[in-house]
Amino acid sequence: MSDRKTMNLKLHVWRQKGPGAPGRLEIVEARNITPDHSFLEMLDQVNEELIKADKEPIAFDHDCREGICGSCSQVINGIPHGGQERTTVCQLHMRTFKDGDAIYIEPWRARAFPIVRDLIVDRSALDRIIQSGGYNSCHTGGVPDGNTLLIPKPDADYAMDAAECIGCGACVAACPNGSAMLFTSAKVAQLAAVPQGKAEATTRVCAMTETMHKEGFGNCSNHYECQAACPKGISVKFIARLNREYQKALFK
């Protein structure tokens, strides 16, 4: 069991009323935090204190709190999700901090993610990338038996590696160009790797790439910050696959 001693921390939190409003870092004290608090539970406790003091609680996105829904989106001390390997903010625990620490908490910052309030951003651009082609156009019903087309295990595993993306947008926040290449490539690669997705591979990669640019995401210049920040460990090899699929499409 971890040390039960509590700690006090000084939070520098980004506060912003709305999309057009000016924002700034505000200092908020976090008191009596145990090492077993999760990072979001620490913020819950801070919010309870703020409410009791008639102050506005800090707004932040969160939901499942088990690292799979992709809601939570905070840059902690300059690193999306806080820098613990393969860990979302909700799974980060306060035992990685010590008494007296100053912690800087900011929202995802990218041109394509306008700030909604405090730490909440609008990530609907990612949905629109998927809407432009991140699917197989199969009708409900009228599909063949699941074993009609065999998928070699390595291909199925490769598709699953890509499919683990939770759509949180940390890759965009980590990228100096605000690029969504890792996100987009994961879906392109997943569907291109299996026979069911091949029929639309060309149109898909073109449409999704075009939407990505239109939404204001930058380009990839091989910093690999996305891979380092990704809580699911999505590999940059999928970006290479995206580029390959795109080139193939251009020659068709």
Binding site: E48, R65, R117, C138, G141
Partner: protein, 638 residues
């Protein structure tokens, strides 16, 4: 009133096929004239919206999350059942039907369960076509594994993230329809009222969570797929935003709520570590294959490191109490036994609410490497949350609320007693009876959305004139006003206690009195405490900010206010059901060996409650359950 579930007559094997033929159809060119409102974008909601949109209906889809892909179906780990019989091990539609009825402790409607088993195979095919990366064997065929409550290998899976992959499949189908313009998406919108016109569901009132705008949407039918109510216990494995609000507000507008007392408590979760805790995390119960549950025999040993408690001073209580099943006793038994040890003052860890799950024996026998291969990801997850190494010291586990089998009452067509209101997935009550088997929730959500509602909703729509009720109908104005009044009331109290604080108190009442083991006394206690807490809430809650902006406290306040009403119904239903069955355990009704004692003579019915006002007793309506294909028998896994 005796309710009619409208099960089709005749042989069960052909019941769904015959019913599909008997139902009315909507002409393809007329479909676009009908507007359907779908609330929720989990497996049931997303698959329903996508399929209805594809058929040509005019669909509006609502979710409280920022993206439909974040609905809580995403967190399901284990897998999805289907009666494919690919391994040639004796599975069949009939066997899946049988296992589900028996697993539900004979409290589900036969015809609904048959249909679920029948369409289970279509679901797998559909998901494969969408590109869902199910596990494959080396020959490239779909792989399956075994799961609790079944003797065949029928569970399809995608690593430990099956729910995520199935939901992303449904989300992709939904995205395709959004692009095509047949579905209009309203993210960050929470349903706060059902609009009923002349006795039929014709719309919803929502709050835009970004702007705070209260808006009415009119439609020809409403489909609720808003999930379960397990967060009534405060701490559960559900997401923070999961609530009873959509279904409860439909209930207050006349929809019957069925079997709310059927809740599932999962035995292998990571225990609570303090009062600040916001949720509980589940670990696959497969851990019990190699771990042994124990607590110290003597209370003096509590607090000592586990390795300083000698073997003869340990109480392997499951092996002691259930020698034949031991650590693999069924979920409900294992959960209750852990609670008993802790109630006896022998629980371990913070607050004394935990039991050891010890792998030392297995590691000595098989080596650490074997255990790592089997459960490595779970040991990692455990260490990330607790900072303890499960290979070196025993894990600590405790049961946690996980799923609810109860929900809005529906007939065989998934239609509630209010015409035009359809309820899918965990939000309805139908197929799991009093207990849900593993890998069945995903199956139900997708069955309802892809393969049931597209047929049954047409049968309703074909009988009405499209677009008859418009948003300028006075019922809409009244609904919007009522919602506004509720919000203003919450904001005006300005008391001393936070919303979370009330939710935590409610959770304690529910967990202690209406949790794993219920008694007449504990339920009556809850029925006293809940109204008192509700009254305090409406006098002393503090919600900051305004209603015309993003306000997460206000959102949560509305949800907790609904839980404070709903919890009373849950306790009342549990008090009414003088028997033990599945997840509902009344200590007065048990076999000498601690198994649930059902009372088929008096309680073989679904209890559907009608709302009569917040402080008035609800009225009970019964739907008798007939078992014509599977003989009513004592559920035994010995």
């Amino acid at each position: 009133m005796i309710l009619d579930g409208k099960s089709p007559k005749g042989p069960i094997e052909t019941s769904w096929d015959k019913h599909r033929f008997d139902m009315k159809l909507v002409n393809p060119s007329n479909k676009r004239k009908y507007k359907i409102l779908v609330v929720g974008t989990g497996l049931a909601g997303a698959s329903a919206a996508a399929t209805l949109g594809e058929l040509g209906y005019n669909v509006e889809s609502f979710c409280y999350q920022d993206s439909p892909r974040r609905a809580h179906s995403i967190a399901a780990q284990g897998g999805i059942n289907a009666a494919k019989n690919y391994p040639n091990d004796g599975d069949s539609i009939y066997r899946l039907f049988y296992d589900t009825i028996k697993g539900g402790d004979f409290r589900a409607r036969e015809a609904d369960v048959w249909r679920l088993a029948q369409v289970s195979n279509n679901i797998i095919d559909q998901c494969v076509a969408q590109g869902v990366p199910f596990a494959r064997d080396y020959a490239g065929y779909l792989d399956t594994r075994s799961f609790g409550g079944a003797q065949v290998s029928r569970t399809f899976y995608a690593r430990g993230q099956t729910g995520q992959q199935l939901l992303l499949g449904a989300y992709s189908a939904l995205s395709r329809q959004i692009k095509a313009g047949s579905v209009k998406l309203f993210p960050r919108c929470e349903m706060l009222d059902l609009v009923v016109v002349d006795g039929e569901a014709k719309g919803i009132t929502v709050r835009d969570l970004i702007t705070g705008e209260i808006r009415c949407h009119a439609g020809d039918a409403v489909v609720l797929a808003s999930g379960g109510y397990t967060n009534v216990f405060y701490l559960s494995t559900n997401a923070m935003g999961c609530s009873v609000t959509a279904t409860w507000r439909a209930h207050k507008k006349g929809a019957y709520f069925a079997n709310p007392c059927y809740t599932q408590i999962h035995p292998t979760c990571i225990p609570q570590s303090g009062d600040y805790q916001s949720k509980l995390t589940l670990m696959s119960e497969s851990l019990r294959n190699d771990g042994r549950c124990w607590v110290p025999k003597k209370k003096e040993d509590i607090g000592k490191p586990a390795n300083q408690i000698p073997e003869e001073e340990r109480d392997y209580y499951l092996e002691r109490k259930y020698p034949s099943f031991g650590n693999l006793a069924p979920r409900d038994i294992a959960s209750r036994a852990a609670k008993e040890q802790c109630d006896d003052g022998r629980g371990v860890g913070p607050g004394g609410r935990g039991v050891y799950l010890d792998f030392a024996g297995s590691i000595n026998r098989l080596g650490e490497q074997v255990i790592k291969e089997r459960y490595g990801n779970l040991f990692d997850m455990y260490e990330r949350i607790t900072a303890e190494n499960g290979y070196k010291v025993p894990m600590r586990i405790y049961p946690a609320p996980h799923y609810c089998m109860g929900g809005l009452w529906i007939d065989y067509n998934c239609e509630s007693n209010l015409p035009g209101l359809f309820v899918l997935g965990e939000a309805n009550f139908s197929v799991h009876g009093a207990n849900r088997l593993g890998a069945s929730a995903l199956m139900q959500g997708l069955a309802d959305g892809y393969f049931v509602i597209p047929y049954t909703i047409a049968n309703y729509l074909a009988r009405i004139t499209p677009g008859k009720v418009k948003a300028d109908n006075p019922e809409f104005r009244k609904s919007a006003e009522d919602v506004q009044v509720g919000i203003k009331k919450l904001l005006s109290i300005n008391g001393k206690r936070t919303v979370n604080d009330f939710h935590r108190s409610l959770g304690k009442i529910m967990w202690n009195n209406v949790g794993m083991a219920r008694s007449e006394q504990s339920l009556k206690e809850a029925l006293k405490e809940i109204p008192a807490l509700r009254e305090e809430f409406w006098q002393n809650v503090k919600v900051t900010g305004s209603g015309t902006e993003l306000n997460q406290q206000l959102e949560n306040a509305g949800r907790v206010a609904d839980f404070l009403e709903f919890s009373e119904l849950l306790a009342r239903d549990a008090l009414n059901r003088n028997e033990s069955c599945g997840g509902h355990f009344r200590v007065e009704y048990q076999m000498p060996d601690g198994e649930a004692r059902r009372d088929d003579e008096n309680f073989c019915y679904a209890a559907a409650w009608e709302f009569k006002g917040v402080d008035n007793e609800p009225e009970l309506h019964k739907e008798p359950l007939a078992f014509e294909n599977i003989h009513l028998a004592i559920r035994s896994y010995k």
